[in-house]
């Protein structure tokens, strides 16, 4: 798999603004493994879609909150997106990113038999933030997210998937790879380290700009 050249980003650094992530079957384990390595000083907002049962009632978000060290929020419509916070799409709603930095929820029809859908989140993030987005696809048993990854890739964002060989359900990361949209294929531990690196590089560069 092609990896983005490290020096390329050093020459032309992109200040990432947000991380969007998607998971389905096997996603809870992958999310909690990766996100538990993120410390409270992580400076990017993280927005995630996990396919949920319609009657989840915030259970997934509460469980995740028990395993991570950043504030976990199941957002309301028009809520501001804050750095270092983790936003979990509520069951039965699509979650979208608006250009003004707020979250939009919607009860539009299901996409890929899913609401929330990963494609819906990713496509809205690509439109709102373009190259400043980092997208991650984790374990899952359908192809939701592949089209969204492609949109993010075309917008110049960074696209990462969990190595299908390490995923409990490889279909979803494999579908993203097959779409030709993926920059990096990493294990869960590597994804955690990579996010920390990108999140903190972001902070250093922000400092060097403002100082």
């Amino acid at each position: 798999m092609r990896k983005k050249e490290a020096h390329q980003s050093a020459v032309c650094p992109i200040l990432h603004k947000a991380v969007v992530m998607g998971g389905s079957a096997g996603g809870f384990k992958a999310f909690s493994t990766i996100l538990s390595s993120i410390s409270p000083d992580f400076r990017l907002p993280i927005l995630i879609v996990q396919h949920l049962r319609p009657d989840d009632d915030g259970l997934f978000a509460r469980h995740l909150a028990g395993t991570v060290r950043v504030p976990v929020i199941e957002p309301c419509d028009k809520q501001w997106i804050k750095a270092g916070h983790l936003y979990v799409a509520p069951a039965n709603y699509h979650m979208l990113v608006e250009q003004n930095g707020t979250i939009a929820l919607s009860v539009e029809e299901k996409v890929n038999w899913s609401r929330p859908s990963i494609d819906v989140l990713f496509e809205s993030a690509a439109l709102a933030l373009g190259e400043r987005i980092i997208a991650v696809i984790l374990s899952g048993a359908n192809a939701d997210g592949a089209a969204g990854m492609l949109t993010i890739k075309e917008a110049g964002g960074l696209t990462i998937v969990q190595d299908p060989a390490t995923a409990e359900y490889p279909v979803m990361p494999q579908a993203a790879i097959d779409s030709g949209a993926v920059d990096e294929v990493l294990s869960m531990e590597e994804i955690g380290r990579r996010l920390i690196e990108l999140g903190s590089r972001n902070l250093d560069e922000l400092h060097s700009v403002t100082l």
Binding site: C76, D77, Q79, A104, L105, S106, E108, E109, S124, G156
Partner: protein, 276 residues
């Protein structure tokens, strides 16, 4: 990828065209969702760009009405979010009882499933006969279906389960007549319902209300249009009147949070404060 700024301009022009030509105003709808729907419609219609859609919107009424229908999301179900109906039963109706006559505005009722749900709760609590429900929507096609009250039989299973979770006191089957592939809601349930066309983007308030029920409608509006609609609700409600929003709609993110007190957080039920 196409220059996103250019694309936004094209979408602005498209929405302006729809407004000028047909009077439907989507200019203040939540942007991310309207952009998404425009793009999907564009690719299904085989148009190379959003600009290409504009002359067709002007000349081809069928094409335009398809797009307008595609923008008008009408997703609802009977007793959607059962906890809300339970909260209405326990926390709102006891106060509605204290008024001699009770007026309810169900704004954005779509195809009406939740109008019948509310009517059932009011009936079981014994105040339906002194209530008037004004059920409004700007989508006339949806409104016709709401008026008819005939729904797919496949939806009954979920409706029945929701009804039970909502604290239903009888058997849900007492409220409809199933025939062939359809279930017709009992006519007695809409005796006191006035179905009427009303557009929250352009029309004004029309009467004094004790409860405004508007769930998962404001999420399609941007901040300004949301505030316009909340302004109409606030103008309509009597002091101490209730406002019930969607479970993920919070007044905290609007300009009206200081006009209301929270009655039930999960059900997003608010009560209008007395204003000096």
């Amino acid at each position: 990828m196409k220059n996103p700024e250019g694309e936004h301009t094209e979408i602005d022009l498209l929405l302006e065209t729809i407004y000028q030509r047909y009077g439907y105003d989507f200019r203040s709808y939540a942007r991310a969702s309207i952009v998404r729907r425009t793009m999907l419609f564009r690719s299904n219609a085989g148009c190379a760009s959003v600009s290409e859609m504009i002359p067709r919107i002007i000349d081809d009424e069928d094409f335009a009405s398809h797009l307008i229908r595609y923008f008008s999301i009408a997703v609802t179900e009977s007793f959607r979010d059962p906890l809300v109906y339970r909260a209405v039963r326990e926390k709102v109706i006891p106060l509605l009882r204290t008024w001699p006559h009770c007026k309810i505005w169900h704004a954005g009722c779509a195809t009406g499933e939740e109008v019948y749900s509310l009517a059932i709760v009011l009936k079981e609590e014994g105040i339906y006969d002194r209530t008037t429900i004004y059920a409004t929507d700007f989508n006339n096609e949806a409104l016709d279906r709401a008026r008819a009250g005939i729904y797919e039989i496949g939806k009954l299973k979920e409706a029945t389960r929701n009804y039970q979770q909502a604290g239903g006191k009888r058997s849900f089957s007492e409220y409809y007549h199933a025939r062939y592939q359809a279930a017709a809601m009992d006519k007695a349930l809409n005796e006191r319902v006035v179905f009427s066309s009303h557009n929250l983007a352009s029309d004004s308030a029309f009467g004094e209300m004790h409860l405004v029920f508007c769930r998962n409608v404001l999420i399609y509006f941007n901040h300004d249009l949301q505030n316009r609609a909340l302004g109409l609700f606030t103008e309509s409600l009597v002091h101490g009147g209730f406002l019930c929003l969607g479970t993920k709609e919070d007044l905290q993110f609007s300009d009206f949070s200081d006009r209301y007190e929270l009655v039930d957080k999960n059900a997003r039920i608010y009560k209008k404060k007395n204003w000096p």
